[in-house]
Amino acid sequence: MLSVTPNTAGVVTLPKGLVGAGFAPVADESRAINGTVGDITAVDPRMTARNVNVYYGDKLAINDVSLDIGKNEVIAMIGPSGCGKSTFLRCLNRMNDTIDICRVEGEIKLDEQNIYDSSLDVVPLRAQVGMVFQKPNPFPKSIYDNVAYGPRIHGLTSSKSELDDIVEESLLKAGLWDEVKDRLAETGTGLSGGQQQRLCIARTIAVAPEVILMDEPCSALDPIATARVEELIDELREQFTIAIVTHSMQQAARVSQRTAYFHLGQLVEVGKTDDIFTNPRHGLTEDYITGRFG
């Protein structure tokens, strides 16, 4: 026997458990999520994700997300808290493996190699896809050792002078060299917050990865340090592919070429950053960037 609930025209029925706590869904046809709006592909993709589902236990955290990350572009992922953007980012270098209850379905390829293939080794993957975290997390070791750690464990250098060169080059690229060149032996945790985050970026690029994932890299920084890191992201784009998760729409607009808007575990809209911010096609995207919720 079926119980028929009278359904007012236009009311979106979201899947149970996905209704956000912070806001009520706007009852509007244009707010319904029926697949991703916009072009998910990139001209020259470095990473391609197709039909990715992520579960935390029984809870579906990411629902059928497909997205390309192109070479030498900065792609920003925006969306309200708990929308799954960080979860998606962490899938890209299998950082979610450390969470026992996390399960990933679908296909994510790095240069035509499925990174969730059972034969794939995560150690070289993470050397290719580096990560910068929300909270600056330098090792409680010297500045030099922080940057040299990656090259050391991967055996990238054969001599001390080569390692010195890598450390200097990485710190230069991260825009930190001038500030720390005289105190490389001091501990990295003694730096200021902004410097620590740039140290973490230097540590990531010292391994010369292909892709750098940044999970809200500026959320713990003051505006000046943020501006410095944003500048750095723009410079790094020439050499690396960067995927950045951010809560700041201004930041997304400033640093990225493409923007992906996530909402309740789904990828709502992808497109050129300029288009997304000036002419959003999906109602939810518009709501978010105009500040109706978030």
Binding site: N93, T98, G130, N137, T189
Partner: protein, 432 residues
């Protein structure tokens, strides 16, 4: 006055009415805390005063100055200087001769025996050692300070009341008269007691030393440390970092926590049944003692080490994994060094427990009366707390001060161990 201003005024009034009460509570709480600390310190102070007050005199030994004649006819009648003859000769005769010369008025057989008794049995051994080391002494004469008997020691240290009736004290009037004569001639005196620190156990209090027990404790603790620290840390690292979370690891965890609460004598029984009876390891050996204490300290070390590992922020792990470190590299390069201070704290707590443990060692025979100082972890030995237990059980008055002094040595051992641990921990400690 607007409504919101009224509201504000009311709030501040309400705050003010309870303010005094709140501060009063805080002051009371602080006073309670201060009082608790003072009380604790007072108890510790009383304990230390009592132990040191009773035990300090054990570090002194009463000796009597005797003119010893190394008569050749007594020691080596043949004159061949054969070591076998020298070692089995009657050295106490030399002491008896000397005493007789000192008190020519003593004629009675019974009195003579009492006179000979004022010098320790160990004095003859000292003479023997001297002659064995230098046989040319034979035929010569020397003035030597030789240890007095424990009753004389107690008398000189003032533990025996000379005013009570003769029948109520261990030293008779005639003996007191002899000692007083020695005292007036300054032929009796108190010296620093090296025997106590270097010697092994003895039935004679004046010859008993703590050296054997110190060495026994040292060997036992070295074995315990060498076994329990690596095993404990390895187990903690495996359980915390590598083991899958399932019913089996839950079971293991519950059991480790339970083992920490098992009475230690049970571990002694286990050691007796498994290490001695099944594997045939020697009885009374520090090796077996160390193994038993390892079983006892492991839960402590594992629990403390796991807590230390848990306290390492996950961001450090993520940072290492993020640059492509393997699980093993993450643990050994970053997590383990950061948790090392906590692990060392746990280890030192475990070792301190092991140092003070008596019951399990009774089960494996480390309670035996052992005179020799152990030379390795395989030799029969006893440990400090067991030695204290043995001496506390002895009836002689002189063992009372020995017991207190042994407790002082045990506490000293513990302090040295803790200081070492603190120094070690400081080395590993890093600032965040």
């Amino acid at each position: 006055m607007s409504k919101s201003e009224q509201q504000q005024a009311r709030t501040i009034d309400r705050v003010n009415t309870t303010l005094a009460q709140r501060y009063g509570r805080e002051r009371r709480f602080r006073r309670f805390g201060f009082f608790a600390v003072v009380l604790g310190l007072a108890f510790v102070g009383v304990m230390f005063l009592s132990i040191i007050g009773k035990g300090y005199s054990a570090f002194q030994q009463t000796r009597i100055l005797l003119d010893i004649e190394f008569t050749e006819s007594v020691i080596d009648p043949s004159g061949e200087r054969d070591p076998a003859v020298l070692s089995s000769a009657n050295y106490s005769a030399l002491i008896k001769n000397s005493l007789r010369a000192l008190y020519p008025e003593v004629k009675d057989r019974k009195e003579k025996r009492e006179l000979y008794g004022i010098v320790s049995n160990g004095a003859a051994l000292i003479l023997r050692a001297k002659v064995m080391a230098d046989p040319t002494l034979l035929g010569s004469q020397a003035q030597l300070w030789l240890p007095a008997d424990d009753d004389i020691d107690m008398l000189v240290k003032g533990y025996i009341d000379r005013t009570v009736v003769q029948s109520e004290r261990r030293v008779k009037d005639n003996v007191i008269a002899w000692i007083e004569k020695l005292e007036s001639e300054q032929k009796i005196g108190k010296f620093f007691n090296t025997t106590f620190l270097t010697g092994g156990d003895s039935r004679e209090p004046e010859l008993a030393g703590i050296g054997g027990a110190v060495m026994g404790s040292l060997y036992t603790l070295i074995v315990t440390l060498l076994l329990s620290f690596p095993i404990g840390v390895a187990a903690a690292v495996y359980l915390e970092e590598f083991a899958p979370r399932n019913r089996w690891t839950d079971l293991v965890e519950v059991n480790i926590n339970n083992l920490a609460a098992v009475p230690s004598i049970v571990f002694g029984l286990l050691g007796l049944a498994v290490f001695i009876n099944f594997f045939g390891l020697p009885r009374s050996a520090p090796l077996v003692g160390g193994m038993v204490l390892t079983l006892m300290t492991l839960p402590t070390i594992i629990i403390a080490s796991r807590a230390a590992l848990k306290a390492v922020p996950p961001s450090i792990r993520e940072a290492a994994l993020g640059v492509g470190a393997s699980k093993m590299q993450t643990v050994f390069h970053h997590v383990l060094p950061l948790s090392m201070p906590g692990m060392l704290t746990g280890t030192i707590i475990g070792m301190a427990q092991a140092l003070g443990e008596t019951a399990p060692l009774l089960m494996i025979g480390m309670v035996a009366f052992i005179v020799d100082i152990p030379g390795s972890a395989m030799d029969p030995a006893t440990v400090l707390p067991v030695q204290i237990f043995l001496w506390a059980d002895s009836p002689e008055r002189a063992f009372l001060e020995k017991t207190s002094a042994a407790i002082m040595v045990l506490l000293g051992f513990l302090i040295v161990m803790n200081v070492l641990a603190v120094i070690l921990r400081k080395r590993f400690e890093r600032r965040w």
